[in-house]
């Protein structure tokens, strides 16, 4: 979940930006006099408000969500990773600003959000070819071999990008003009993946009568292979200063069509929170039907399921009555780790003044966020707790976990409308 940002947290960057604007407003214009230094007519007035709305068909690249592998039973070297390919989503980008009088500069606020929710499901009952990658490998899969015959996975990427920039003219030529800008940038990025792995049709002994006198429904529910599941999430919340340049070139003599290019670079400092949990299962044998002590862990192919307490007497009780299925829970959470990122943004576009101060524009934009995501994964786990109860917790050594940083790129075509008044 994105945390709501209180108004007070924005006070400092807004004040800084405002102070910067006021300071710069006292400086002479940085416009390079090249003989074409006449200010635009629109800047003769006291100031202008500017707003634009943009639709961006954005696709994330580099999410690297790999919930499972596809195992080839006939050729182990042919095992392939199955990844979740993030889809292209149509998102909006909002931009508004105020152009100061006398061409002293512009204050611009930009908000961009990206949200991608994608799934990867494979269901092939009875065919245990899907490698279980996300949960702990300890007892993953009904046969403890890390394979499932079906899995459902879902991955989500969320990015909120907020910018406050102050623009000034860098130079202005007959056809080409440029502005530089500095500002404040805040980026919140979340990534999460969860997956459930099934053993829908395992080849294990069934528990039908006459195995047990216990109602078969009870045994069915008790020993039916439970699905392994895992979740991994990470959040980056960072802020920092940015700078950049924008270029504008007239196309033709009408001065109604421009080509534009923008580039920005931000260095962000922030905090990273990450979380991981996993639940796998195992079968154990107890020394009595009710309660009792842990005897040993069953191993595939689970012959004990169809054995009798007295092998020579099929009318004796079934061993299955002493079998239990345990949950093996593993979890790890890291909060507020320091993190740093670099955000780069580039855009190429065409802008057309269709009517008075109304512009239409479209182009290609690319955002790059370095080390903005994190995948937390415990490495070594050790069982602990009461091994007789239905659930067994595995404690995790917090110092022995991997934190894999991820970089993200967003790119796509955009189209928008802008108005100055």
């Amino acid at each position: 979940m994105i945390k709501h940002i209180s108004r007070s947290r924005w006070n400092i960057p807004i004040l800084v930006t405002a102070a910067l604007a006021v300071a710069l407003s006292g400086l002479p214009s940085a416009t390079l006099a090249q003989g074409e230094t006449e200010p635009d007519e629109e800047f003769d007035k006291l100031g202008k408000l500017y707003a634009e709305v943009e639709a961006w068909a954005v696709q994330p690249i580099g999410a690297d969500f790999k919930p499972a592998s596809l195992h080839d039973p006939t050729d182990v070297f042919n095992t392939r990773l199955l990844g979740i390919d993030p889809s292209t989503e149509n998102r909006f980008r909002f931009r508004t600003g105020y152009r100061l009088k006398d061409n002293m500069g512009e204050l611009m606020v930009t908000y961009t959000s990206m949200n991608h929710l994608d799934a990867l499901n494979r269901i092939n009952p009875g065919s245990f070819v899907y490698g279980i990658l996300l949960p702990s490998q300890r007892h993953a899969g009904v046969f403890n071999d890390g394979l499932a015959d079906a899995f459902l996975s879902e991955a989500e990427l969320k990015t909120r990008d907020f910018r406050v920039d102050f623009y000034r003219d860098a130079f202005k030529g007959h056809r080409i003009s440029s502005k530089w800008f500095v500002g404040y940038r805040r980026v919140i990025h979340e990534r999460s993946i969860d997956a459930t792995y099934f053993a829908l049709a395992p080849n294990i002994p069934n528990l039908l009568n006459p195995i047990s006198d216990i109602a078969s429904e009870t045994l069915f529910l008790r020993l039916k292979p439970r699905a392994d599941t895992a979740m991994q999430s990470g959040t980056f919340n960072g802020r920092g200063l940015e700078t950049g340049m924008s270029f504008k070139m007239n196309l033709g003599s009408s001065k109604k069509v421009w080509a534009e290019a923008d580039f920005s670079l931000a260095v962000l400092r922030g905090k990273i929170s990450s979380e991981y949990f996993s639940i796998t299962h195992r079968y154990i044998l107890r020394d009595s039907v009710s309660g009792g002590n842990f005897l040993y862990e069953l191993a595939p192919p689970y012959d004990e399921f169809e054995q009798y307490e007295n092998p020579s007497d099929p009318n004796s009780a079934a061993v299955a009555e002493r079998i239990r299925q345990q949950n093996l829970r593993t979890g790890l959470k890291v909060e507020s780790d320091p993190g740093a990122s670099i955000a780069m943004e580039m855009a190429l576009s065409l802008r057309w003044r269709v009517w008075k101060n109304l512009d239409l524009f479209g182009g290609f934009r690319q955002h790059y966020y370095e080390n903005i995501g994190v995948d937390l994964r415990p490495r070594n786990i050790a069982p602990a707790g009461n091994q007789v109860t239905e659930g067994v917790d595995l404690v995790v050594n917090n110092n022995d976990a991997t934190r894999e940083l991820k970089s993200m790129t967003y790119e796509g075509l955009f189209f928008g409308i802008a108005y100055t008044y």
């Binding site: 269901i123 009952p125 829908l200 049709a201 080849n203 195995i211 169809e306 099929p314 009318n315």
Partner: protein
């Protein structure tokens, strides 16, 4: 002229497009599946079997009594004689009736929910009984001296002791002597009893040879869609059914037919070992 050619080409392109009708119903993917559980590879005795009746007055109508005047509950009956080879009784292997528990579930295409289709898995001899043997062995011998006039005998063949005709037979060749004797008892005349294995002697239901009073167990039948997966579990009951005489336990085997064709690529264990109360568990996905 060029415009005319272009228009003609365009018209030709439109013709096949007009033929397409997106509203046409698509072909149904529904298929009929049948699951049959059978117990096979059971070892049992082989018998020479014939149909027999008495006709002292040669009127072609089976008599109500035997030549000694004993009343016959059934004028026409099935008689069995243990098959011998080199002076030793011989046995064969084949299917046998056996009670079993059954659970059939389905996973619908694209889901991970297991839906149980069978309402009960209880051992039930009416519904969960594997089919009888229906095979004939070679080398059948005629009744010979076991069918002396005025008896009339029509040979049926050499059958495994688990054949339905044998099981359902009610005849005892010498009911006065053998009313309380076990099947295949050798009496003091050193003559094999002609009662068939499993016969409840004179208390059973009579039937004509080659006819079956009760149908064979029906396969479990249902419609499946493409992508559906069927899960089948079954387990043998401990001990043979009443009237079935086997020398070794059978294996339990699951068979799946799709639109009448047997499916060979079942996933899992579709044939059990011959152990007591052995079970099977397999699945099949409609592709």
């Amino acid at each position: 002229m060029r415009q005319l050619v272009c228009l003609a080409v365009l018209a030709l392109c439109l013709i096949p497009m007009a033929g397409c009708d997106s509203e046409q119903p698509q072909g149904s993917d529904a298929q009929t599946m049948q699951v049959l559980i059978q117990a096979g590879n059971a070892s049992a005795g082989l018998y020479d079997v014939w149909e027999q009746y008495y006709d002292a007055n040669l009127d072609g109508i089976p008599d109500e009594t035997d030549p000694m005047g004993n009343f016959l509950p059934q004028p026409v009956f099935v008689a069995c004689r243990r098959a011998f080879q080199n002076g030793q009784p011989i046995s064969g292997t084949g299917k046998t009736p056996w009670e079993y528990s059954l659970e059939i579930s389905i996973i619908r295409a694209g889901t991970t929910t297991i839906e149980r289709l069978t309402t009960t898995e209880a051992l039930n001899s009416t519904f969960n009984m594997t089919p009888y043997s229906d095979e004939f062995a070679t080398g059948a011998q005629p009744p010979g001296n076991d069918c002396l006039p005025p008896a009339v005998c029509n040979s049926i063949g050499r059958l495994l002791g688990t054949n339905r005709i044998v099981i359902d037979s009610t005849y005892d060749a010498d009911p006065q002597d053998n009313m309380n004797l076990p099947v295949n008892f050798v009496d003091n005349l050193n003559r094999w009893d002609l009662a068939c294995p499993g016969s409840p002697l004179l208390n059973g239901e009579p039937r004509m040879s080659g006819t079956l009073a009760a149908p064979l167990p029906s396969p479990f039948t249902m419609g499946l869609e493409k992508g559906d997966t069927i899960l089948v579990k079954a387990r043998k009951k401990i001990g043979e059914p009443n009237g079935v005489e086997v020398f070794s336990e059978p294996t339990l085997q699951g068979l799946v037919y799709l639109n009448g064709l047997q499916i060979s690529n079942l996933t899992g264990t579709s044939v059990s070992p011959s152990d007591q109360a052995a079970g099977i568990s397999f699945s099949f996905t409609v592709n």
